[in-house]
């Protein structure tokens, strides 16, 4: 700190007392009007879609279907969480879908054909993702090929690579109980509730400690009422979800009981917490936002822009590997189409629908989950309504376009409001 003389003049920040909850709500409305909508479209869309499907097909809200929703959307959501990092830089990874296919194939080959233990195979699959991400990121950052072209080329090449790995179109089945469990088994009922309690308590504690620390230093802190509202909302939403997932969903409970939170849910939660921490609380995450906002400013601030770019692609491809493992687990097999067809567009759609900007610099990992939920609900609901693949593709394509349109218009609006 410089020895700056204290000169007369009003202090820059006079409001050290906490703003009221009403103030926070007004500020949020202001932001939305100014074009910074965040996750609002995804949340509203989710509510509308769920209501429509629940009315049209009562089967939509049954316990078994809700559990299905989670396992159906899991792979795409995980891939979308990784894509957020690349999108934050204003880049794109079109190869994430087939990268997940390649990693799933590596998993299947090492697990089934070579008979290695599951943790070695998972490690091999994720390592494959890291290598893929390093190559893609280096080509984009160091060689300077636009990410669109690099990953489009990889999109084609990886299709071939999957074919090579699974021996020209055969299907490798997976029988390892641990891998199968990820997308097909559930937590015991008590563990689901314990996890729920731990999440709510942990979130509340984090918020309170943070507010307490800030208040002690005389900085603007979130008011207690706002924290209580957030924690309450989490408790209600989480509680309802865990309750529904803990209902008996077997047709014949006497023969086999089927209840509990699918194991993939805590997997996604852990990934969410880890990546949110990285993005929001570490210098690395701050630099990702900075490079996405203004790469030249970041370079001048001494941030290694190339390193950040490569890391983002590595994270994206590694998450694609995790997504591939989840997909392989759900299908109990890997074939040349794993990670293919609509997986990539659904993942990009999930990230964008959730509120991650295609222009870079704006987005959260949570967005991918909200968007992934929207995509899963459309896919699942349309299926229940009896529409075929044609209508599903049309509707999902339209929703992706709508989300990208909302993003572009919000940006324009923000520019008009002087917010960008």
């Amino acid at each position: 700190m410089n020895k700056v003389k204290e000169l007369p003049g009003e202090a820059i920040v006079t409001a050290t007392q906490s703003p009221s909850i009403g103030h926070s709500v007004t500020a949020y409305i202001e932001r939305v009007r100014g074009g910074d909508m965040g996750a609002l479209p995804a949340v509203l869309g989710l509510l509308v879609l769920c209501t429509v499907f629940a009315i049209a097909r009562p089967a939509f809200l049954t316990a078994i279907n809700v559990a299905n929703l989670f396992t159906q959307g899991a792979a795409v959501t995980v891939i979308a969480m990784g894509l957020v990092f690349v999108l934050l830089l204003g880049e794109i990874d079109l190869s994430a879908g087939f990268a997940s296919g390649v990693c799933a194939a590596v998993l299947a080959v090492t697990l089934t054909n070579m008979g290695l233990p599951w943790y070695v195979c998972v490690g091999a699959a994720i390592l494959t993702g890291i290598v893929i991400g390093t190559v893609l990121g280096t080509l984009v950052a160091k060689v300077g090929i636009p990410s669109f072209v690099v990953t489009l080329a990889a999109f084609l090449a990886f299709q071939g690579l999957v074919l090579v790995l699974v021996d020209e179109g055969t299907n490798i089945s997976i029988r390892d109980p641990v891998i199968i469990a990820v997308a097909n088994k559930n937590l015991p009922v008590w563990l689901g509730w314990a996890l729920f309690a731990a999440c709510v308590a942990g979130y509340a504690a984090l918020q309170l400690i943070r507010a307490g620390r800030r208040a002690k230093r005389g900085l603007v802190a979130d008011p207690f009422s706002l924290i209580a509202a957030r924690v309450g909302a989490l408790a209600i939403i989480g509680g309802v979800v865990v309750y529904v997932l803990n209902l008996e969903r077997s047709r014949n409970p006497a023969i086999s009981s089927l209840m509990g939170v699918p194991i993939v849910v805590p997997v996604i939660l852990v990934l969410l917490v880890v990546w949110t921490f990285v993005l929001r609380r570490t210098a690395f995450g701050r630099h990702i936002y900075a490079v996405g906002g203004n790469a030249e400013a970041s370079r001048r601030a001494g941030i290694s822009v190339d390193r950040i770019r490569i890391s983002a692609f590595v994270i994206c491809s590694a998450m694609a590997a995790v997504g591939g493992i989840v997909a392989a687990s759900r299908a109990s097999s890997v074939d040349p189409n794993t990670g293919g067809s609509s997986v990539l567009l659904y993942a990009v759609g999930a990230a964008v629908i959730g509120g991650t900007s295609l222009f870079g610099g704006k987005g959260r990992v949570l967005d991918a989950i909200l968007g992934g939920a929207v995509v899963a609900v459309i896919e699942n609901g349309m299926g229940l309504m009896g529409y075929g693949a044609s209508v599903k593709y049309l509707v999902t394509g339209f929703v992706l376009l709508l989300a990208a349109g909302v993003d572009a218009l919000a940006r324009k609006r923000a520019a008009a409001a002087g917010l960008r």
Partner: protein, 250 residues
């Protein structure tokens, strides 16, 4: 008084084009030294040489009387030389605190130390008597041009800097905002920093500077005390490199 920053006989060429010829320039603590010159006179090149962005072909850079090597922006920053570029180099999607600490975030362990960064940013802005920003947690995209310039300058003085170089800080600003920024420039010098102000606008230069250095076609025409020259003389120095017995010998 020894100059805090002194360059002696700097030469700089880009390929066959020699942009700086034997340029000598000094900046003193507690003073605003204006660097003036026509388009293409070499002002920005000189600043980028000082800031370590361009390597110099010949000559010396002295800091506090001692010769130093500046091989990159990092070296300049470590010496205490901060440059506020014309295009500000702020990230629109980050807030004021995040921008001020960009690339040099404070951490406790692995985690960013937001509270201490916010405190320090507030102190710095208070110290500069900045009173036009609503909250230091607002995004830079929501700030006016003058406010952005203020944030960029505050970012530069946050780092124990001793020399602050401002590249055309008022070029894109309205009348009131220009006055605000010039006032800030003057205050910076009054706190003991050596301030170098690059400007096209002679009214601004005469309003705040203690010394004027005029570049003409890559040569230093003259560095004089502002009180000793008139507006017309400075214009002559800028346009022809000479004014009476001042300037380059013919």
């Amino acid at each position: 008084m020894t100059p805090l920053l002194e360059v002696r006989g700097i030469d700089k060429s880009f390929g066959p084009v020699q942009v700086l010829h034997n340029v000598t320039f000094s900046a003193y603590p507690g003073e605003v030294t204006a660097l003036v010159g026509d388009n293409g006179a070499g002002k920005s090149t000189l600043v980028k040489c000082i800031g370590g962005i361009y390597p110099i072909d010949g000559g010396d850079i002295l800091f506090d009387g001692k010769p130093v090597q500046v091989h990159g922006p990092r070296d300049a920053g470590e010496l205490g030389i901060e440059i506020v570029y014309q295009d500000l180099a702020l990230c629109d999607n980050l807030d004021i605190v995040q921008n001020m600490f960009l690339g040099r975030e404070r951490r406790s362990g692995l985690v960013l130390d937001e509270a201490s960064m916010e405190e320090l940013a507030t102190q710095t802005l208070d110290g500069l008597s900045v009173r036009t920003v609503k909250s230091i947690r607002q995004q830079v995209s929501s700030l006016s041009g003058g406010q952005r310039q203020t944030v960029a300058i505050a970012k530069a003085v946050l780092w124990n800097s001793k020399v602050v170089i401002l590249d055309e800080p008022t070029a894109a600003l309205g009348v009131a905002q220009t006055a605000q920024v010039l006032e800030l420039v003057r205050r910076l010098a009054d706190t003991g920093l050596a301030v170098v102000l690059i400007s096209h606008n002679l009214n601004d230069v005469f309003a705040v500077s203690d010394q004027i250095a005029a570049l003409y076609l890559g040569k230093m025409a003259a560095q004089v005390r502002t009180a000793d020259v008139t507006h017309a003389q400075v214009v002559e120095l800028i346009t022809s490199g000479r004014s009476g017995d001042l300037g380059i010998a013919q």
